[in-house]
Structures are given as C-alpha cells and as structure tokens.
Symmetry: C2
C-alpha cells in the first residue's frame, strides 16, 4: 500500500489479500484458495456474508467491512456476483484482483456482457485485474499462492517465470519444471485477460531480478502489436521461450475457452520470432528451453555452432538429425581440432563433429576440452549412457564447462535411482541434464535460436520507413493501384486506360506487341473469372476478337479498358500487405503465383520491416531455391523482391486507411521485378477463424 508501488506490483507481490467467497466447504474454490494462502506471510481477510470465521480466521461480511483497502482481492463467487464485488473493491481503493470464477466471455453473450462491464470498470480506474476465468498465479519470491489449485503451492521456487494465457497450462508448466528439477519465480495464468495481459506481465517480469528466463504460452492475442513492441524490449534483457497453439483449426474450442479469436497462427509465430522470442512446439519443450535459457544465454550471433560429443553413435545420430531439422549449425571443426581429437580418441572413434568417442575412456575429458576450444563451437552437448565404470560425468563435465567458458548440456539414460542423484548434482553445478537425445538437441537448439533471433533483432529491426505518405485515391482500381506502385518505385507494365475502341486502337499502335487488354469496371473484382483479361493480343484480328470478348461481359457501370504491354516470362510470386486485427500491418510473400495458396508456401512478417528482414522471409520459402538459380538458370533479383515487400509494408504502416494491398503475380527477373496486377482495399475483411 506504499504509494511508490504500482497496482501491478500490488497484484503480484501483495502485502494483504482478501478472499471474496471464502468458503467453509472443502473442495469449493473459495475454500481451497484460502487454504493455498496458508504460507502467505502478509494479512489474509476471508470475506463471507454470514460466517464469523472461515478456516479458523476471522471473516468479514464485505470488502467495505475490512479495516482498510487490501492490495489484492481474490474473487471466488459466481460470475454474476463478481461484477458487484469488483465494483466494491474499486470503491474501497483496493489495488488489484484476481477473478478465479469462470462463466464470462467464454460462456456466451450473458457472460460476455458481464465481462465487458468489468473491463469498463477497470479501465476507468487504476485497479488491475487478472482474469476472469483463471486459476490465478503463484509468486515464489514472496511467496504467495493465489489459486484454488492447492497443489500450486508446491511448485518449487526458482529463476523461471511463466506467463500463460491458460491457467491450466500455467500450472502444467510449473509442474513440468519441477519434474526437470527447476523452479519458478512467478507463474501467472492470464485467463480471459480483460485488464492485465501478457504484455503487462512481461514488462513487470523484465524488472524482477530473480527472473532469469520467461516461458510464455499464448492462444489468441488481443493486442498483438503491443505484445510485439514489449517483447522486442524484453528479449534484449531476458530470454523468452514461447508456445502458441492453433496451428490447426481449433478455433471453435478456443473461443469457448477464453472468448478470444485465435487469428493467424503463422503471423503470430512470425511476429514472436521477429521480436526475439524462441518459439517451441510443446509444453515439455517450453519448460526445458526456459530452464536451459535461465542458466545463461549465448552472445547474439547469426549462426552459433553446436559441438556434439557422444559415447554412443545412435543417440548421436538422433541428436544431429534434430539439430539440423531445427536449422542449428553443427559446424566442421578446424583441421587442427580434428587432428588433436583423433590423437586423443581410441581407435574406433569419429573425430569430426559430432565426435563419437566410442565407449568412453580416460581421454573423454580431454576430447571434450579440445572440442570446446574450437573457435567454431559456441555451445557443447554431451551424451553418454550411464556407465560409471567407464566415465564419471560428475567429475568430468563441471570441469569442462568451467575451463571451456562455454555452456555444456548433458544427456544420459540409466536406472532412475542412479541417474537422479547424478542429475541433481550436475544441476547444482548449473549443467542442464536432458532426459532423452531429443531433449538434449532441443535445449541446445533453443540456446542457439535465442542467440540468432537476438542478432537479427539488433541488425534487422529498424522501423524507419523509406517512403513518405502519398495520395491514395479511394476507390483505387487496378490502374490506380499500379500508378501508386510506380510512384513507390515498383515497376508495372507500360499501359494506357481507354474509354473507347478508338483509344484502344491508338494505344495498341503505340505499345510494344503483344499486349494484354483488361476490362476496368468498379463492379468487377475478379477480372479473370468473367473473361475480363485478354492476353497475347498481337495483331488487328486479335484486337477485334479481344474487344468483342470484353464487350460481351454484361456491365451496369462504365466500361473502360486497360491496354498493357505483355511482360516477359519470369518467376511468379505473390506479395501482399494486410492489416491484421491484432498485430497491425503485416506483409506476406509466396512463390508460384496462384500455386502459392495450393502449396501453402508463404512467409509473413510484421511491417514496417527492413530489406534484410524481407530477404530473411524469402529465404524461409520452401521453394526459395527457385530464386537461387534453379536447374542451372540464373539467380533472380532477390533484392528487388525484398524491396517490393518493404514498400508494401511501409504503405500500410503509413496509411492506416488502407486495409490490404496485394500484387499477384509479381514477376521476378535476373534484374528487377514487374507487378502484373495490383489490388488495394480499404475494407476490413472479416477475420476468418484461422486466416
């Protein structure tokens, strides 16, 4: 209640807590939440309309009856009663609250209305509210367990913070970390997140010195752009690993869950990585990646190298396969390193990276040190089955790590009762011990990815835009869009807009043959589908036939024609920019023109972006090889393609009135690009469940 503390600080580190709905019935949320506060060293006030005492503590009839405003109120009454209770908490100058109850936005229109009312009340005050529809949070530094899940009280303290949209995932992660032998600083379940969102908690955690790494779980994101901006700052300070669901179409169930729309999974993943967060695939990976990252990050690097040393080739091969699948470099060693390792190894070993020591012997430690000393190696991973007669990891590894000044990860398997004390001892020495070859590869990959993304965040992120604001006609037909593109430096075919056949004939004479003739009419959105595009018109007969065809299209409005020189053949791509409802301006590129959609080969980023970032997008395409000189052909102009992406992104960033702009196809040549079609829209498209 010190005036220097923000209400967000009072929420996560309260000195006093009230429980509205404190109950004498075991199993009820209000009962369990009160029990979970048993170890809390601050003041606890049960609120119950009639009971004089709950769980042996004096109860109060209402928040108004308390001796003074508390830092935190836990609401464990039905949804309908929460609205009044929150109002009372605000009126009483309480600092913050957690609504543990469900029945709000996720439960239909009535719940959504109550949620909106609570959101409005919070927005009008400085009261900070977590939830509704959350199982709460734990803060192990204090400690406090603000949850009806009694078991949450047993998550051990540690250096990892969890921020999870789902309270269930929040606790799942806490227990997964415990299973790995690690603990949490804070673990927060956001629930429906009407007031306190992921970005708020991340900002709070960035300033908490005990938190060394953050595990983030996201479903749909309401204000993606703010999350992106906050993450860009936080990831420079602390490593963030993130799991985001919704790769598949799970929109119906997701909406029933927190009432949020999921939005595009691909865009969310791209935005998170662009902001420097390491995106992982599973809750188990999220836990292990966060645990490993909390031990220490690599310096920012574009392509950090992993050195692998294994006593068994089979697991080594699994590790190598996984590292490569994640795009992690397992670099060739310096010849002198290989020579030295070859001399240190017994006969049947493999002295390259990965190093296969064969059954480990006395030289294991020397081999590891030699590998670690190679300048290509930034992080080391070691795998060896439990074979104490051959090698003692407890003696070898901490020594190697200390002398190499590079992180060392260890993986082993053996009888549990022998492995467990070994692992605990190594953890004590800050060496991560993996439980499978894949987990070992994945934690090393997370460390490398964190270093890579940070290097790119520093080098590629620069939101200065090249282009200035520009006049955009509304509506903006194909020709107007192309003029706009030309003004922005994107080449389009030479062409003329004509209102009469005579104008068309004049244009035809002046332009290089063959030409394309397209119908221009505001009522036609998809020209090709109505036969409104006549290609390869080369002579007078062709011209007549083309005009006949275009004139046969029934039209209510004015009929105009766009006559354009045909562009030479080239690689067709689609480039677009669209304003996402949550993340704002974004850009996409796809190979294959119309086939881009069928092959699902597209890359997305948030705009504005730099040319370097746009080139990163292009390299991400499966078909990127088509640009690099496919089948002996010449390499194509990736820079011009990247600059087109940047230009469209800048356009949307400068012009909030534009909803979408798309060039399809854009032809890419050895030198330059040409936009063959352009579509610009001011209309907000309905967000599809999984766009």
């Amino acid at each position: 209640m010190a005036p220097s503390r923000t209400n967000l600080e009072r929420l996560f580190a309260p000195a006093s807590v009230a429980v509205v709905g404190a109950s004498t019935s075991p199993g009820k949320a209000g009962h369990e939440a009160l029990r979970a506060l048993e170890h809390f060293r601050g003041s606890v006030f049960p609120v119950h309309p009639s009971a004089g005492e709950v769980l042996g503590q004096r109860a109060f009839a209402s928040l108004r009856a308390l001796p003074g405003p508390v830092d935190l109120v836990l609401f464990a009454v039905p949804a309908a009663a929460c609205v009044q209770a929150v109002r009372e908490a605000i009126d009483c100058d309480c600092g913050s609250g957690v609504i543990l109850s469900a029945g709000f936005g996720e439960a239909g229109p009535a719940g959504a209305a109550m949620q909106a009312e609570i959101e409005r009340m919070c927005a009008r005050s400085s009261f900070r509210l977590l939830g509704p529809n959350t199982a709460g949070f734990v803060n192990r530094e204090l400690p406090i367990t603000a949850s009806f899940l009694l078991a949450a009280d047993r998550i051990p303290p540690g250096e990892i913070a969890i921020v999870a949209q789902s309270a269930g995932i929040n606790l799942t992660l806490g227990f997964l970390l415990a299973k790995l032998g690690y603990g949490v600083s804070c673990a927060v379940g956001l629930g429906n997140a009407v007031n306190v969102g992921a970005a708020d908690v991340l900002e709070f955690l960035a300033e908490q010195p005990r938190t060394k790494a953050i595990a983030l779980h996201l479903e749909g994101v309401n204000d993606g752009r703010r999350l992106y901006e906050v993450l860009k700052r936080v990831t420079l300070q602390k490593p963030v690993a993130v799991l985001t669901v919704g790769r598949e179409n799970v929109a119906d169930f997701a909406r029933s869950h927190t009432g949020n729309l999921l939005g595009s999974h691909a865009l969310r993943v791209a935005a998170l990585r662009q902001a420097g967060a390491v995106v992982v695939e599973t809750t188990e990976e999220l836990a292990s990646a966060a645990a490993a990252l909390a031990l220490g990050r690599l310096p920012a690097a574009f392509d950090p190298g992993v050195g692998v040393i294994t006593a068994q080739a089979g697991p080594g091969l699994v590790i190598l396969d996984r590292l490569k699948a994640r795009g992690v470099s397992v670099p060739a060693l310096h010849p002198s390193t290989e020579a030295r390792i070859a001399a240190q190894l017994p006969g049947s070993g493999y002295a390259k990276n990965p190093v296969d020591t064969g059954r480990p012997g006395a030289s294991f430690s020397d081999v590891a040190l030699t590998l670690a000393a190679d300048p290509q190696i930034d992080v080391m991973i070691v795998f060896a089955l439990h074979e104490p007669a051959a090698m003692s990891p407890a003696d070898v590894l901490p020594d190697v790590a200390a002398r190499a000044h590079k992180p060392v990860f260890f993986g082993t398997m053996g009888p549990l009762d022998e492995i467990a004390p070994l692992a605990a001892m190594l953890r004590q020495r800050r060496i991560f011990v993996a439980e499978s070859p894949e987990q070992l590869a994945h934690v090393a990959a997370a460390l490398a990815e964190d270093a890579k993304l940070r290097a790119r965040l520093v080098a590629f992120e620069d939101s200065r835009m090249k282009s200035a604001t520009i006049d955009v006609p509304n509506p903006c037909d194909e020709h107007a869009t192309k003029q706009l593109l030309e003004a922005l430096g994107v080449r389009t075919p030479t062409g003329v807009v004509c209102s009469t056949h005579e104008q068309v004939r004049v244009a035809f004479r002046q332009l290089a043959k063959p030409v394309a003739i397209k119908i221009l009419a505001s009522e036609i959105a998809h020209k090709t589908e109505v036969g409104g595009v006549q290609l390869d018109v080369g002579d007078a007969a062709g011209l007549r036939a083309a005009l006949d065809a275009l004139d046969a299209i029934p039209l209510g409005s004015e009929r105009r024609y766009l006559v354009e020189e045909m562009a030479p053949p080239g690689l067709e791509v689609i480039v677009g920019a669209v304003r996402d409802a949550s993340f704002g301006p974004s850009v996409m590129v796809g190979l294959g023109g119309v086939f881009a959609e069928a092959f699902k080969d597209t890359a997305v980023r948030l705009a504005p972006l730099t040319t370097a970032r746009a080139q990163e997008m292009i390299d991400e395409l499966r078909g990127a090889t088509l640009l690099h000189g496919f089948r002996g052909g010449p390499p194509l102009d990736r820079v011009a393609l990247a600059e087109t992406i940047v230009t469209l992104g800048d356009l949307l960033s400068r012009h909030p009135e534009i909803q979408e702009v798309e060039v399809n196809p854009l032809r890419v040549y050895q030198q330059g690009v040409i936009a063959l079609d352009g579509l610009l829209s001011f209309e907000r498209r309905k967000l599809t469940p999984e766009a």
Copy 2:
C-alpha cells in the same frame, strides 16, 4: 541345445554362454559383460588365454577348451581377434554369438574387410551372429543381460520388445520405458547387422507370447524389401512403432556409425507405414507409443474417433491442436450425446468434443461415460490437473474404462510425490498416464494410427499386378518409352518419328496443329537444355524455324525428329518409378512438374501397389487441393492419375532389368491424363547419400 531350437532362439534365449575376452580389469567390456551375467541362471564360461579364474568363475583358455558347444558366445576382444574367435565358435558348433567390439564396417576399409569375412563365415554356417559393434541385448523373460553396459541389467521386465539398429538407442529406449513405469520382454541392439537383422528379430518376436508391442529403431536398412514383407505379417499380429532417423542430411556421420548407407528417409517412412508400422518422431514418443499399444490395440478402422475430456481448457486446446496435426479425428458427437453431457455439466462447461468440464465435480464420471458411449468415439483421453479435492482419478477412471469397454488414456500434472503413486496405481489397472498434454495426444494418435494403417494394410495391399510382362526395347528412347506407355494404357500425344524434313512436313500436314517437334538422338538426355524441343509450331514459317533450330544442334549420331500434336493445357504432375537399392521397386508422384522438386511436394510408396494405395499417395500431397477443383475449377481425374502410378510400379515389378521410368510432365485433365515426356533407364543410378 535341444535340436528343436533354432540358433536364433539359442541366441536370444541361451542355456549356456561363453564370454571370449573375459577380463579381470573392471571397466573393460569383457569384465562388465561377465558381471552383467550374474543373474543369468544358465551356465557361464569365461574364456581367457591365461587366467585360471575370472570374477570367481573358472576360466577356459579357448572355446575349444569348453566342456561342449554353448548356445551363445559373447565376443569382447578387439576386432582383429574377433575373426578368429568367430571361426572357432562355428567350428565348435556353438549356436550363436554377439560381437560387442567395434572397429568393423564403421571404422574404414580394414574393419570392413574383417566384417565381410565374418559375414561370409556366418552365411556359410547356421551360426547366428548379432553385431558387430553392438552393446548387445537383454531378454527379461529368461532373464539374461548380454551387454557390457551393466546398467542394462536393471531395465525392468515387461511386455514391450525393442529392436534397435543402434545399441545405444536400444538401451535409451529401455530406460525411457522404465521411467514411464513399463518394462521390456526383449531389447536387442543390432549394430552393424551382418547376420541378424531387424526382420529376423521381428519374426522371432512375433512368436513370443509375452511381447505385446514392438518398438523399432532404424537407420539405414540393408534389405528393405525383406523388412517390408516381414513387417506386413508382423503388424497384423502385434503393433509395431518405429523411429527412423535421417530426415536431414546426416549421411556422413551415419556411415561412420554402422557402415550402412541411409538411403531415402521419405521412402523408408512410406514403406514402414505401408507395412502397418506406426512411425513416430522421437525416442520418447517411441517409448510411450509402444507402452500404450502394448495395453491393447483398436480394431482396424479407417478413421477411428478420439473423445477428449478435459478439466482445463488450455491443455485441452494443446491436445486438440496436436491430434489434428497428426490427422486424428476428434469427431462431432451425436446431438443426444451433447444434450446429455450438457445436462450433466455445471454451467460453464463445453459439451462438445473436446468436452471441457470446467473444475471437475461429482458428475465427471457420468460425463466421461456418456462421451465414451457415443458411437463415434473409439478411444478416450482425459486430462485433469491434480486436484484431489475436486476429483479422484483413481476412483473414476478404471471404472469408466471397464464400463465403456474402450481404451482410456489419462494425463495429469501435479507435485511429483502425489502424482507418482496415483500413476502407478492407474498403470496397475492398465490405464496409461501421460506426463504432458502432448504425450497424451501422441499416445492416442499412435493408437488411432495403428488402427488406420492396419485397415489400409488389409484393404489396400494386394500385390497382384494388372499388366503382364511386355517387350521393352533397350535402349528405349522417348518415342519407344511412349509406345510402351501406350501399350500399358497410358495415353501419349499422337506423334510420328521422322528421319527427313520431308517426313516432318508430311506429318505436320496430317497432325492437328499446333505441334511440338523434338529432336531424337541417343546422345541427348536432356532435350530441353540444348534447345531440342520446339513448341507451338502452327504454320509453315514456324515449321521452317523449328527445323532450323533443331538442325543447329551439333550431333554425332543420327538426327531424327519426333513430331507430336500439342496437348491441351492441364495440371502438370511428375510420376515415376525407381528401383531402390534396399527397398526395390518404388513409385513417386509430385505436383507441379518442374516445380515438384523445388516445392518438395512428392509422395512415395513401394510397388506393386493398388489404385487405392496410389490414391492415398495423391491425397498426401500438400497441393492435392489442385486436383479437387481448385478455385472453382472442375475436379481432375485422380483415378487416371492413380492408375498411371500403378502402371509404372507394375512395370518395374515385372521387369527387374528396368531401373527407372519417369513421366514428366504428365498432364491431368477432367477426364484422363496424357504423358508428355517419358524417360526409361536400365542403368542403376548411384545412390546419393540422401536421394
């Protein structure tokens, strides 16, 4: 030594074992292997050239000095000494052996020569040899631990068999199973597999009643075709889950490991699935899938349905996302089921599949039973955080499983000391307990996949070929290949082979215009690259220009021309059949003609195959939507495409002299297909590291 036992049975279930290289030095393989035999109840004979006693047991100077032939000899002497020792074992009529030593095919030419010598000796006798370069095996039924890895002796007994190419993975899997609370019947590390291969062990295990499921690990496979044929029989008897490495280019390290080439990962995966084996991604998944499958399979079904019930929506969403990513059906429930669940649930639950119960209450069991009773549901998965005050899984789940007569998998998280006894109790009742939402989804997916693959194995596999043997000219140029295709029922363009300009002009007059004119010459393999294909020739001037262009190509051999009618535009695909060095005849289909390679959108299967199996291939393509009526277009002739695949597969199966046949492009229409180019080769292509 009973004459009724095969030497393979004597290998894995010996009554007597000799250890060649038994050593008095702790840490040495021959010492550890002898110690690992401490619990073996048969006879053990240390073999040592001079010591009278090793580890308190009488030692023998050589195998010849033994009282009689033993069932199994463990070789723990250096590679060079193994050759002589194996010879002696065969001469002494021993039944089988395991070479624990390394330094053979994986270690360079000298080792490869020794390995070849041992392979020859075994092939000439009935002696069965495991290895070399293996850490051996355990048979928990006997029990026996034939390994220098002492810890292997502590893998608990159970119902799961492991067959692993890598001995390191073999033991890793054994310990992973132990960690999950399960045990093994047999666990075999194949090593370099010169004599006993995966197929042999699978055949052996199929007959072992205590083995309920098999976990298989593969790197490169020497005789893929035999493995495929054996697997097709074994998977009908017992479930097989398999992990195969080498998705990425890891060929160098793999070769250093067992000396085997990896071959194509895609083909290996396709062949394994075609044979009914469930392909998984990680060692952890392999262990959990095998453990779950050992509890019981689903009946064969083309699309089994999973019912999900969760107490926390967040983990439920993760589970749903994962199931969908694996192509597992989470079907809509019957309206009456939904109505009943809605009535059973408290207010804020979600009564569809997945069912979200909200905080679980007394109705949890009823809800689960109602869901299980739905006819769409074949297997149930239940997730709930550890909340004993709200729900007791130990009381609810075994009862639900017993009454529903459908498999139930459970996932939970909580304090380890509270979860562990609960999990043990549920395992006792044959309910699998997962350690994360993803593991829960993956075991259910494995069960569904096993049922799906088996349904397809029964319905799709039929190796009768449609076509008969046919005359194949050698060499077989484009025109001859097309005539062959026509004879096999694959349409090709109408065309004429001409030797003179006059013949070309006659052909031009007779054929429908425009035509394509291609150069035919045995020395030109890639016509397009030398300008040897002239398209769209429609008039006399075009004809002259085309012939001029073709005549400008410098040529040593006879110059001929293929004049063909141009086919109408259509979707271009590539279809081919190739004889794989390990798996034999295989077929492939890819969308996009030349783009198929760039987009890496291809599917493969072993041939011969049925049309239904070929259609399954087509559906697997990412761009399959292009065939289903893309962007409002008409659906294309998938059946004709499938039949073309079958035809090419039959051709290679019938004609062992043909190495490869490829049609690229094949155009697909609403009705039928046309092969625009054909390439047939009798030459074995060099197996690329990762073809």
